[in-house]
């Protein structure tokens, strides 16, 4: 084969891969949409379930805040019958509310749809993953050279984190609906506004630090996102619980949805752990970025807008962690700080790329 023919063939392969990637992304969106409807169906069936209402009644009766403690079975398997059981109770001063039964509200059909939704999410995840892979092969580099690719990778990782937690048998199916909704938004934005056929990387991006720094940044963002969803739900559930505890009567819709979510304490703990778990990694991401900047631009830290906003995000999350250890700031106030911190992350991603110019602006829009 002549070199020219080889080149042409290579170009054609790239073209084909790029087209394949686009097809896969659109297919993934279609399957996510199906998953979205399945989750909705799960919630709808759940709203009719008796168990849901029982849980509400249970909570409503306990406005003294002294609900029965929850029994935890430990040391799983058959050994349980031989062992003493551990009783847990909320820490002093905390509300003792049992977790809701989940979106299906104990309804068998609802549960079935929930499972279907998860299966569809898995399928969509695989398709999207293949789409990202095809994209990477077509541009012959890591698939995070511009915002379009970044969006694709981001949602893939976020769904991956969710499925990973599910695989670890964590009780987080409640996350499914908000997650898939935002993944659809994220992908919609990607294929319309942000779509970039292909583009080049500036020499500064040619480094193994690209893989380290950018991949951890995307991963942290995805996990922070999951934490932020938990935080928002916590805020809703917490005001619902306070209202009940004060003898109030939340609206029917709010009751139907919120009574099926985990207790506010559980949601709070969930978001704390998610945020706390990635905070060291986020710290690492910033430091890795500084080292890379030191190699590529000759200075470790130059207060470039992207660097500045990473720093702001970092300090905001440190604020959140501190707030949880500070009397008078625990709970809702800390939760607001967590949301501000995530907003900083979002701004760093979209806002800085779109509104501010700096060395990082190769992350082009459209």
């Amino acid at each position: 084969m002549t070199p020219a023919a080889a080149m042409e063939l290579a170009a054609a392969t790239n073209e084909n891969l790029a087209n394949l990637s686009n097809t896969l992304i659109y297919s993934a969106m279609a399957v996510y949409t199906l998953a979205f409807f399945a989750y909705i169906t799960e919630w709808l069936f759940g709203s009719r379930s008796k168990v849901g209402r029982t849980a509400a009644a249970l909570t409503a009766g306990e406005d003294t805040g002294r609900a029965p403690a929850v029994t935890v079975q430990k040391a799983g398997g058959t050994a349980v019958l031989e062992r003493p059981k551990v009783v847990t109770r909320a820490a002093a001063g905390a509300r003792d509310v049992p977790d809701g039964p989940g979106a299906h509200g104990g309804d068998v059909q609802g549960d079935l749809y929930g499972r279907i939704a998860v299966s569809l999410t898995v399928l969509a995840f695989l398709i999207e993953f293949a789409g990202v892979l095809a994209r990477a092969l077509s541009v012959q580099r890591a698939p995070w050279g511009n915002m379009y690719e970044f969006n694709l990778t981001f949602s893939t990782v976020a769904v991956g984190v969710y499925l990973g937690l599910l695989a670890l048998k964590k009780n987080i199916r409640w996350l499914g609906l908000p997650l898939v909704t935002s993944v659809l938004l994220d992908l919609g934005l990607a294929v319309t506004v942000l779509y970039t056929a292909s583009d080049q990387l500036v020499p500064a991006l040619h480094s193994y630090w690209l893989y380290i720094h950018v991949s951890t940044a995307i991963f942290c963002g995805a996990v922070f996102y999951v934490g932020a969803v938990g935080t928002i739900l916590y805020l809703f559930k917490d005001s619902y619980e306070s209202k009940l505890a004060a003898g109030g009567r939340p609206g029917r819709f709010a009751t139907s949805v919120l009574e099926r979510l985990p207790a506010s304490a559980s949601l709070d703990k969930f978001s704390y752990r998610v945020n706390a778990a990635v905070f060291p990694l986020w710290t690492f991401t910033i430091i890795a970025g500084a080292i890379w900047a030191g190699d590529a631009w000759g200075r470790y830290w130059g207060w470039d807008p992207k660097e500045t906003w990473s720093f702001i995000t970092w300090v905001a999350y440190a604020c959140y962690l501190h707030a949880r250890a500070t009397a008078g700031w625990k709970g809702r106030k800390a939760a607001y700080i967590a949301l501000i911190a995530f907003a900083c992350w979002l701004f760093n991603y979209y806002g800085v790329n779109i509104f501010v110019s700096g060395k990082h602006s190769y992350a082009d829009v459209g």
């Binding site: 031989e82 109770r89 020499p203 200075r299 440190a318």
Partner: protein, 629 residues
């Protein structure tokens, strides 16, 4: 409150307590049990009426009050918040440190806002007084926080975990069973078990108290100390750093002295003696570029071959410098930051004598290296009449020309495929003697006159390598030689302290991991003889509010201890099989305000565990879903 507690005597044999004081005692008891689970500073209880508890004392009192405030968690939180808030304007407003032209532009466009911003230091936020004030206060607060916390922690390491609270049932995780083993034996076994699980454990009265996870505190302190190390390293680097740029054409050299730099910046405490002596010669620059595919034009190789010497007389050594791979000489780093072309031109005067021959570096304007520059002939030139004059040429250069008639002088590719040099010619006074600094890449046309072509327009021409542009009326000529050199832009930086900053950063990550992943928790095991002579074992666990694994760990420990002190037969055939640990039993116990097995007076309480397992309803996992670690 149930009245059953009025006739109860506590374990120490003290006389009856009223219900109210019993609860108060309980609370205190629990507070003690949970005390010092961290070294976070005690919060001053804010007075209810909202008035701050201001000191009435003189200067010392105020100073002490101020220090207390500064080192409190609340103020640390506010300072952190201010730090992130304060960093924002610097990302939105142009900064003179990074982009002076945009600052000038901003000042020109905003005549009212500009000076105001200037006064507030908003064009150099990160070195402004107010930003410095925030982080200096934060770090004073940090030091004021670390020192007492360290002492407190040392105290905790010297001391022992607090003894068991009277009512273990009130703790977040609790379990109990009856056993045939003697209480002393159970306590001994518990002590051994806990120690083998790396708890710090000791026997206190009828119970064993144990604690684990001290490394959390170590990690947390290490993290905060690492932050200080990083800040000091960073400040040190800022004060002593230097950064200069130099454009070097192939074949030319550079020696590290101030005068050789094209531009140079340094920290406040930097002196020129700090410049390390070294020199290098750019042997060649190699750039090859992707020819096809989606990455067409992306550099494949992009590197400078240099020969360098350390010190004045060091041996010559060869190195390749790439974008992400600087040349390191002692504390200096030489970065490859830019690249472009330098076409060689020859200027002849009216008599045909060569007055100027030079490789002229051109500054790239885009990714395909469309470049612009200026050619200045300062002296030696005489016009057709033999009068001394200066010449100037505006130059555009493209390494890959699109072809005649195909639009603008815009390069199609970064490699030297079809180089074209476009020139326009001027003569007169270049203005370099005026004393004002002047860019070598731009002509100051104030005192220059255009050379005219036959139509009376500015004389300009596109030249291929080897071609010549004649100046009108025998004023001479300029030739684009068949030689285009490449140049490389180097940045030479010295940033002392960066090693320390890196060490601090790594320490911070490790410390953080310890602080966030390790859980500090306490376990108590009480073994006493019940009213019927059978031993009652109670275990309870306590952690910080986020600690997830306390119940699970307690369960595992209880399982192991249970194997060593197995369950006794039920207390009586007709004893209610109220499984300990079920919701009902727990609620009942709480109701009765008394713990099982604490003394002979506890018989009003539902009998503690029969030891026999009761079939359990499917358990609701408490907060299990929240797990991430």
């Amino acid at each position: 409150m149930s009245n059953t507690s009025t006739d109860r005597t506590d374990r120490t044999g003290r006389a009856d307590a009223s219900a109210a004081s019993a609860t108060a005692e309980d609370r205190e008891d629990l507070t003690t049990a949970g005390s010092q689970l961290s070294t976070a500073p005690q919060e001053d209880a804010a007075p209810r009426d909202g008035a701050p508890n201001l000191p009435a004392l003189g200067v010392v009192g105020w100073a002490r009050w101020f220090w207390r405030q500064l080192t409190s968690m609340r103020v640390a939180l506010i300072l952190l918040f201010l730090l992130s808030l304060g960093a924002i304007p610097g990302s939105l407003i142009p900064q003179s440190g990074t982009d002076p032209t945009r600052v000038a532009d901003f000042l020109a466009r905003h005549t009212t806002l500009g000076p105001l911003y200037e006064k507030l230091g908003l064009f150099h936020v990160y070195s402004s007084v107010w930003f410095s004030a925030i982080y200096i206060l934060l770090f004073v607060s940090l030091i004021g926080c670390i020192v007492p916390r360290t002492w407190q922690f040392v105290g905790q390491l010297r001391g022992r975990p607090p003894g068991a609270p009277r009512r273990l049932t009130r703790l977040p995780a609790y379990t109990t069973w009856r056993t045939g083993a003697e209480p002393e034996a159970v306590r001994g076994a518990a002590l051994e078990l806990l120690r083998s699980r790396r708890f710090r454990a000791h026997a206190a009265g009828d119970a064993v108290a144990a604690e684990k996870g001290y490394l959390r505190e170590v990690g947390n302190l290490a993290f905060h100390i690492a932050l200080i190390v990083m800040l000091i390293a960073f400040a040190w680097g800022q004060l002593f750093k230097s950064e200069g740029n130099k454009l070097v054409i192939e074949g030319d050299g550079f020696a590290n002295t101030l005068t050789q730099y094209d531009d140079f910046k340094s920290g406040n405490l930097f002196t020129t003696d700090d410049l390390e002596p070294f020199s290098f010669v750019l042997k060649s620059f190699t750039g090859t570029y992707e020819r096809t595919g989606p990455n067409r034009g992306t550099p494949r190789t992009y590197q400078a071959e240099v020969a360098y010497r350390e010190g004045a007389h060091g041996a010559e050594r060869r190195r390749t410098v790439k974008v992400n791979e600087p040349l390191e000489i002692d504390g200096s780093k030489v970065y490859l930051v830019s690249h472009g072309y330098a076409p060689v031109v020859t200027v002849r005067d009216g008599r045909g004598e060569v007055v100027h021959r030079q490789a002229v570096p051109m500054l790239p304007l885009d990714a395909n290296v469309t470049s612009s520059g200026a050619i200045k002939v300062l002296d030696g030139y005489r016009d057709a009449k033999g009068v001394k004059e200066q010449l100037g040429f505006n130059a555009f250069f493209v390494p890959t020309f699109a072809g005649a008639g195909k639009g603008e002088m815009l390069s199609q590719f970064p490699a030297l495929d079809f180089p074209v040099l476009a020139l326009s010619a001027y003569h007169g006074d270049l203005g370099v003697d005026s004393g004002l600094p002047q860019s070598v890449y731009q002509l100051d046309k104030k005192n220059m006159k255009e050379f005219k072509d036959s139509e009376g327009k500015l004389l300009k021409k596109r030249l291929l390598p080897g071609e010549t542009m004649k100046l009108p009326n025998g004023a001479g000529s300029i030739t684009f030689e068949k030689d285009v050199k490449e140049w490389a832009g180097f940045q030479v930086t010295q940033q002392p302290g960066s090693g320390w900053a890196l060490a601090g950063a790594l320490g911070a990550i490790l410390g953080l991991a310890g602080s966030l992943f390790i859980q500090r928790r306490r376990v108590w095991v009480r073994a006493t003889t019940g009213p019927d002579g059978v031993t009652v074992v109670e275990m309870a666990g306590l952690g910080r509010s986020e600690s997830a694994k306390v119940p699970e760990e307690l369960g595992a420990l209880a399982g192991q201890l249970y194997d060593l002190a197995p369950g006794a037969p039920p207390a009586g055939a007709d004893a209610p099989p109220a499984g300990p640990g079920t919701a009902e039993a727990e609620a009942g116990a709480a109701e009765a305000e008394a713990a099982p097995g604490t003394g002979p007076e506890t018989d009003t309480v539902p009998e503690p565990d029969s030891g026999k397992p009761t079939p359990e309803p499917p358990a609701v996992p408490a907060a299990e879903g929240a797990e991430t670690k």
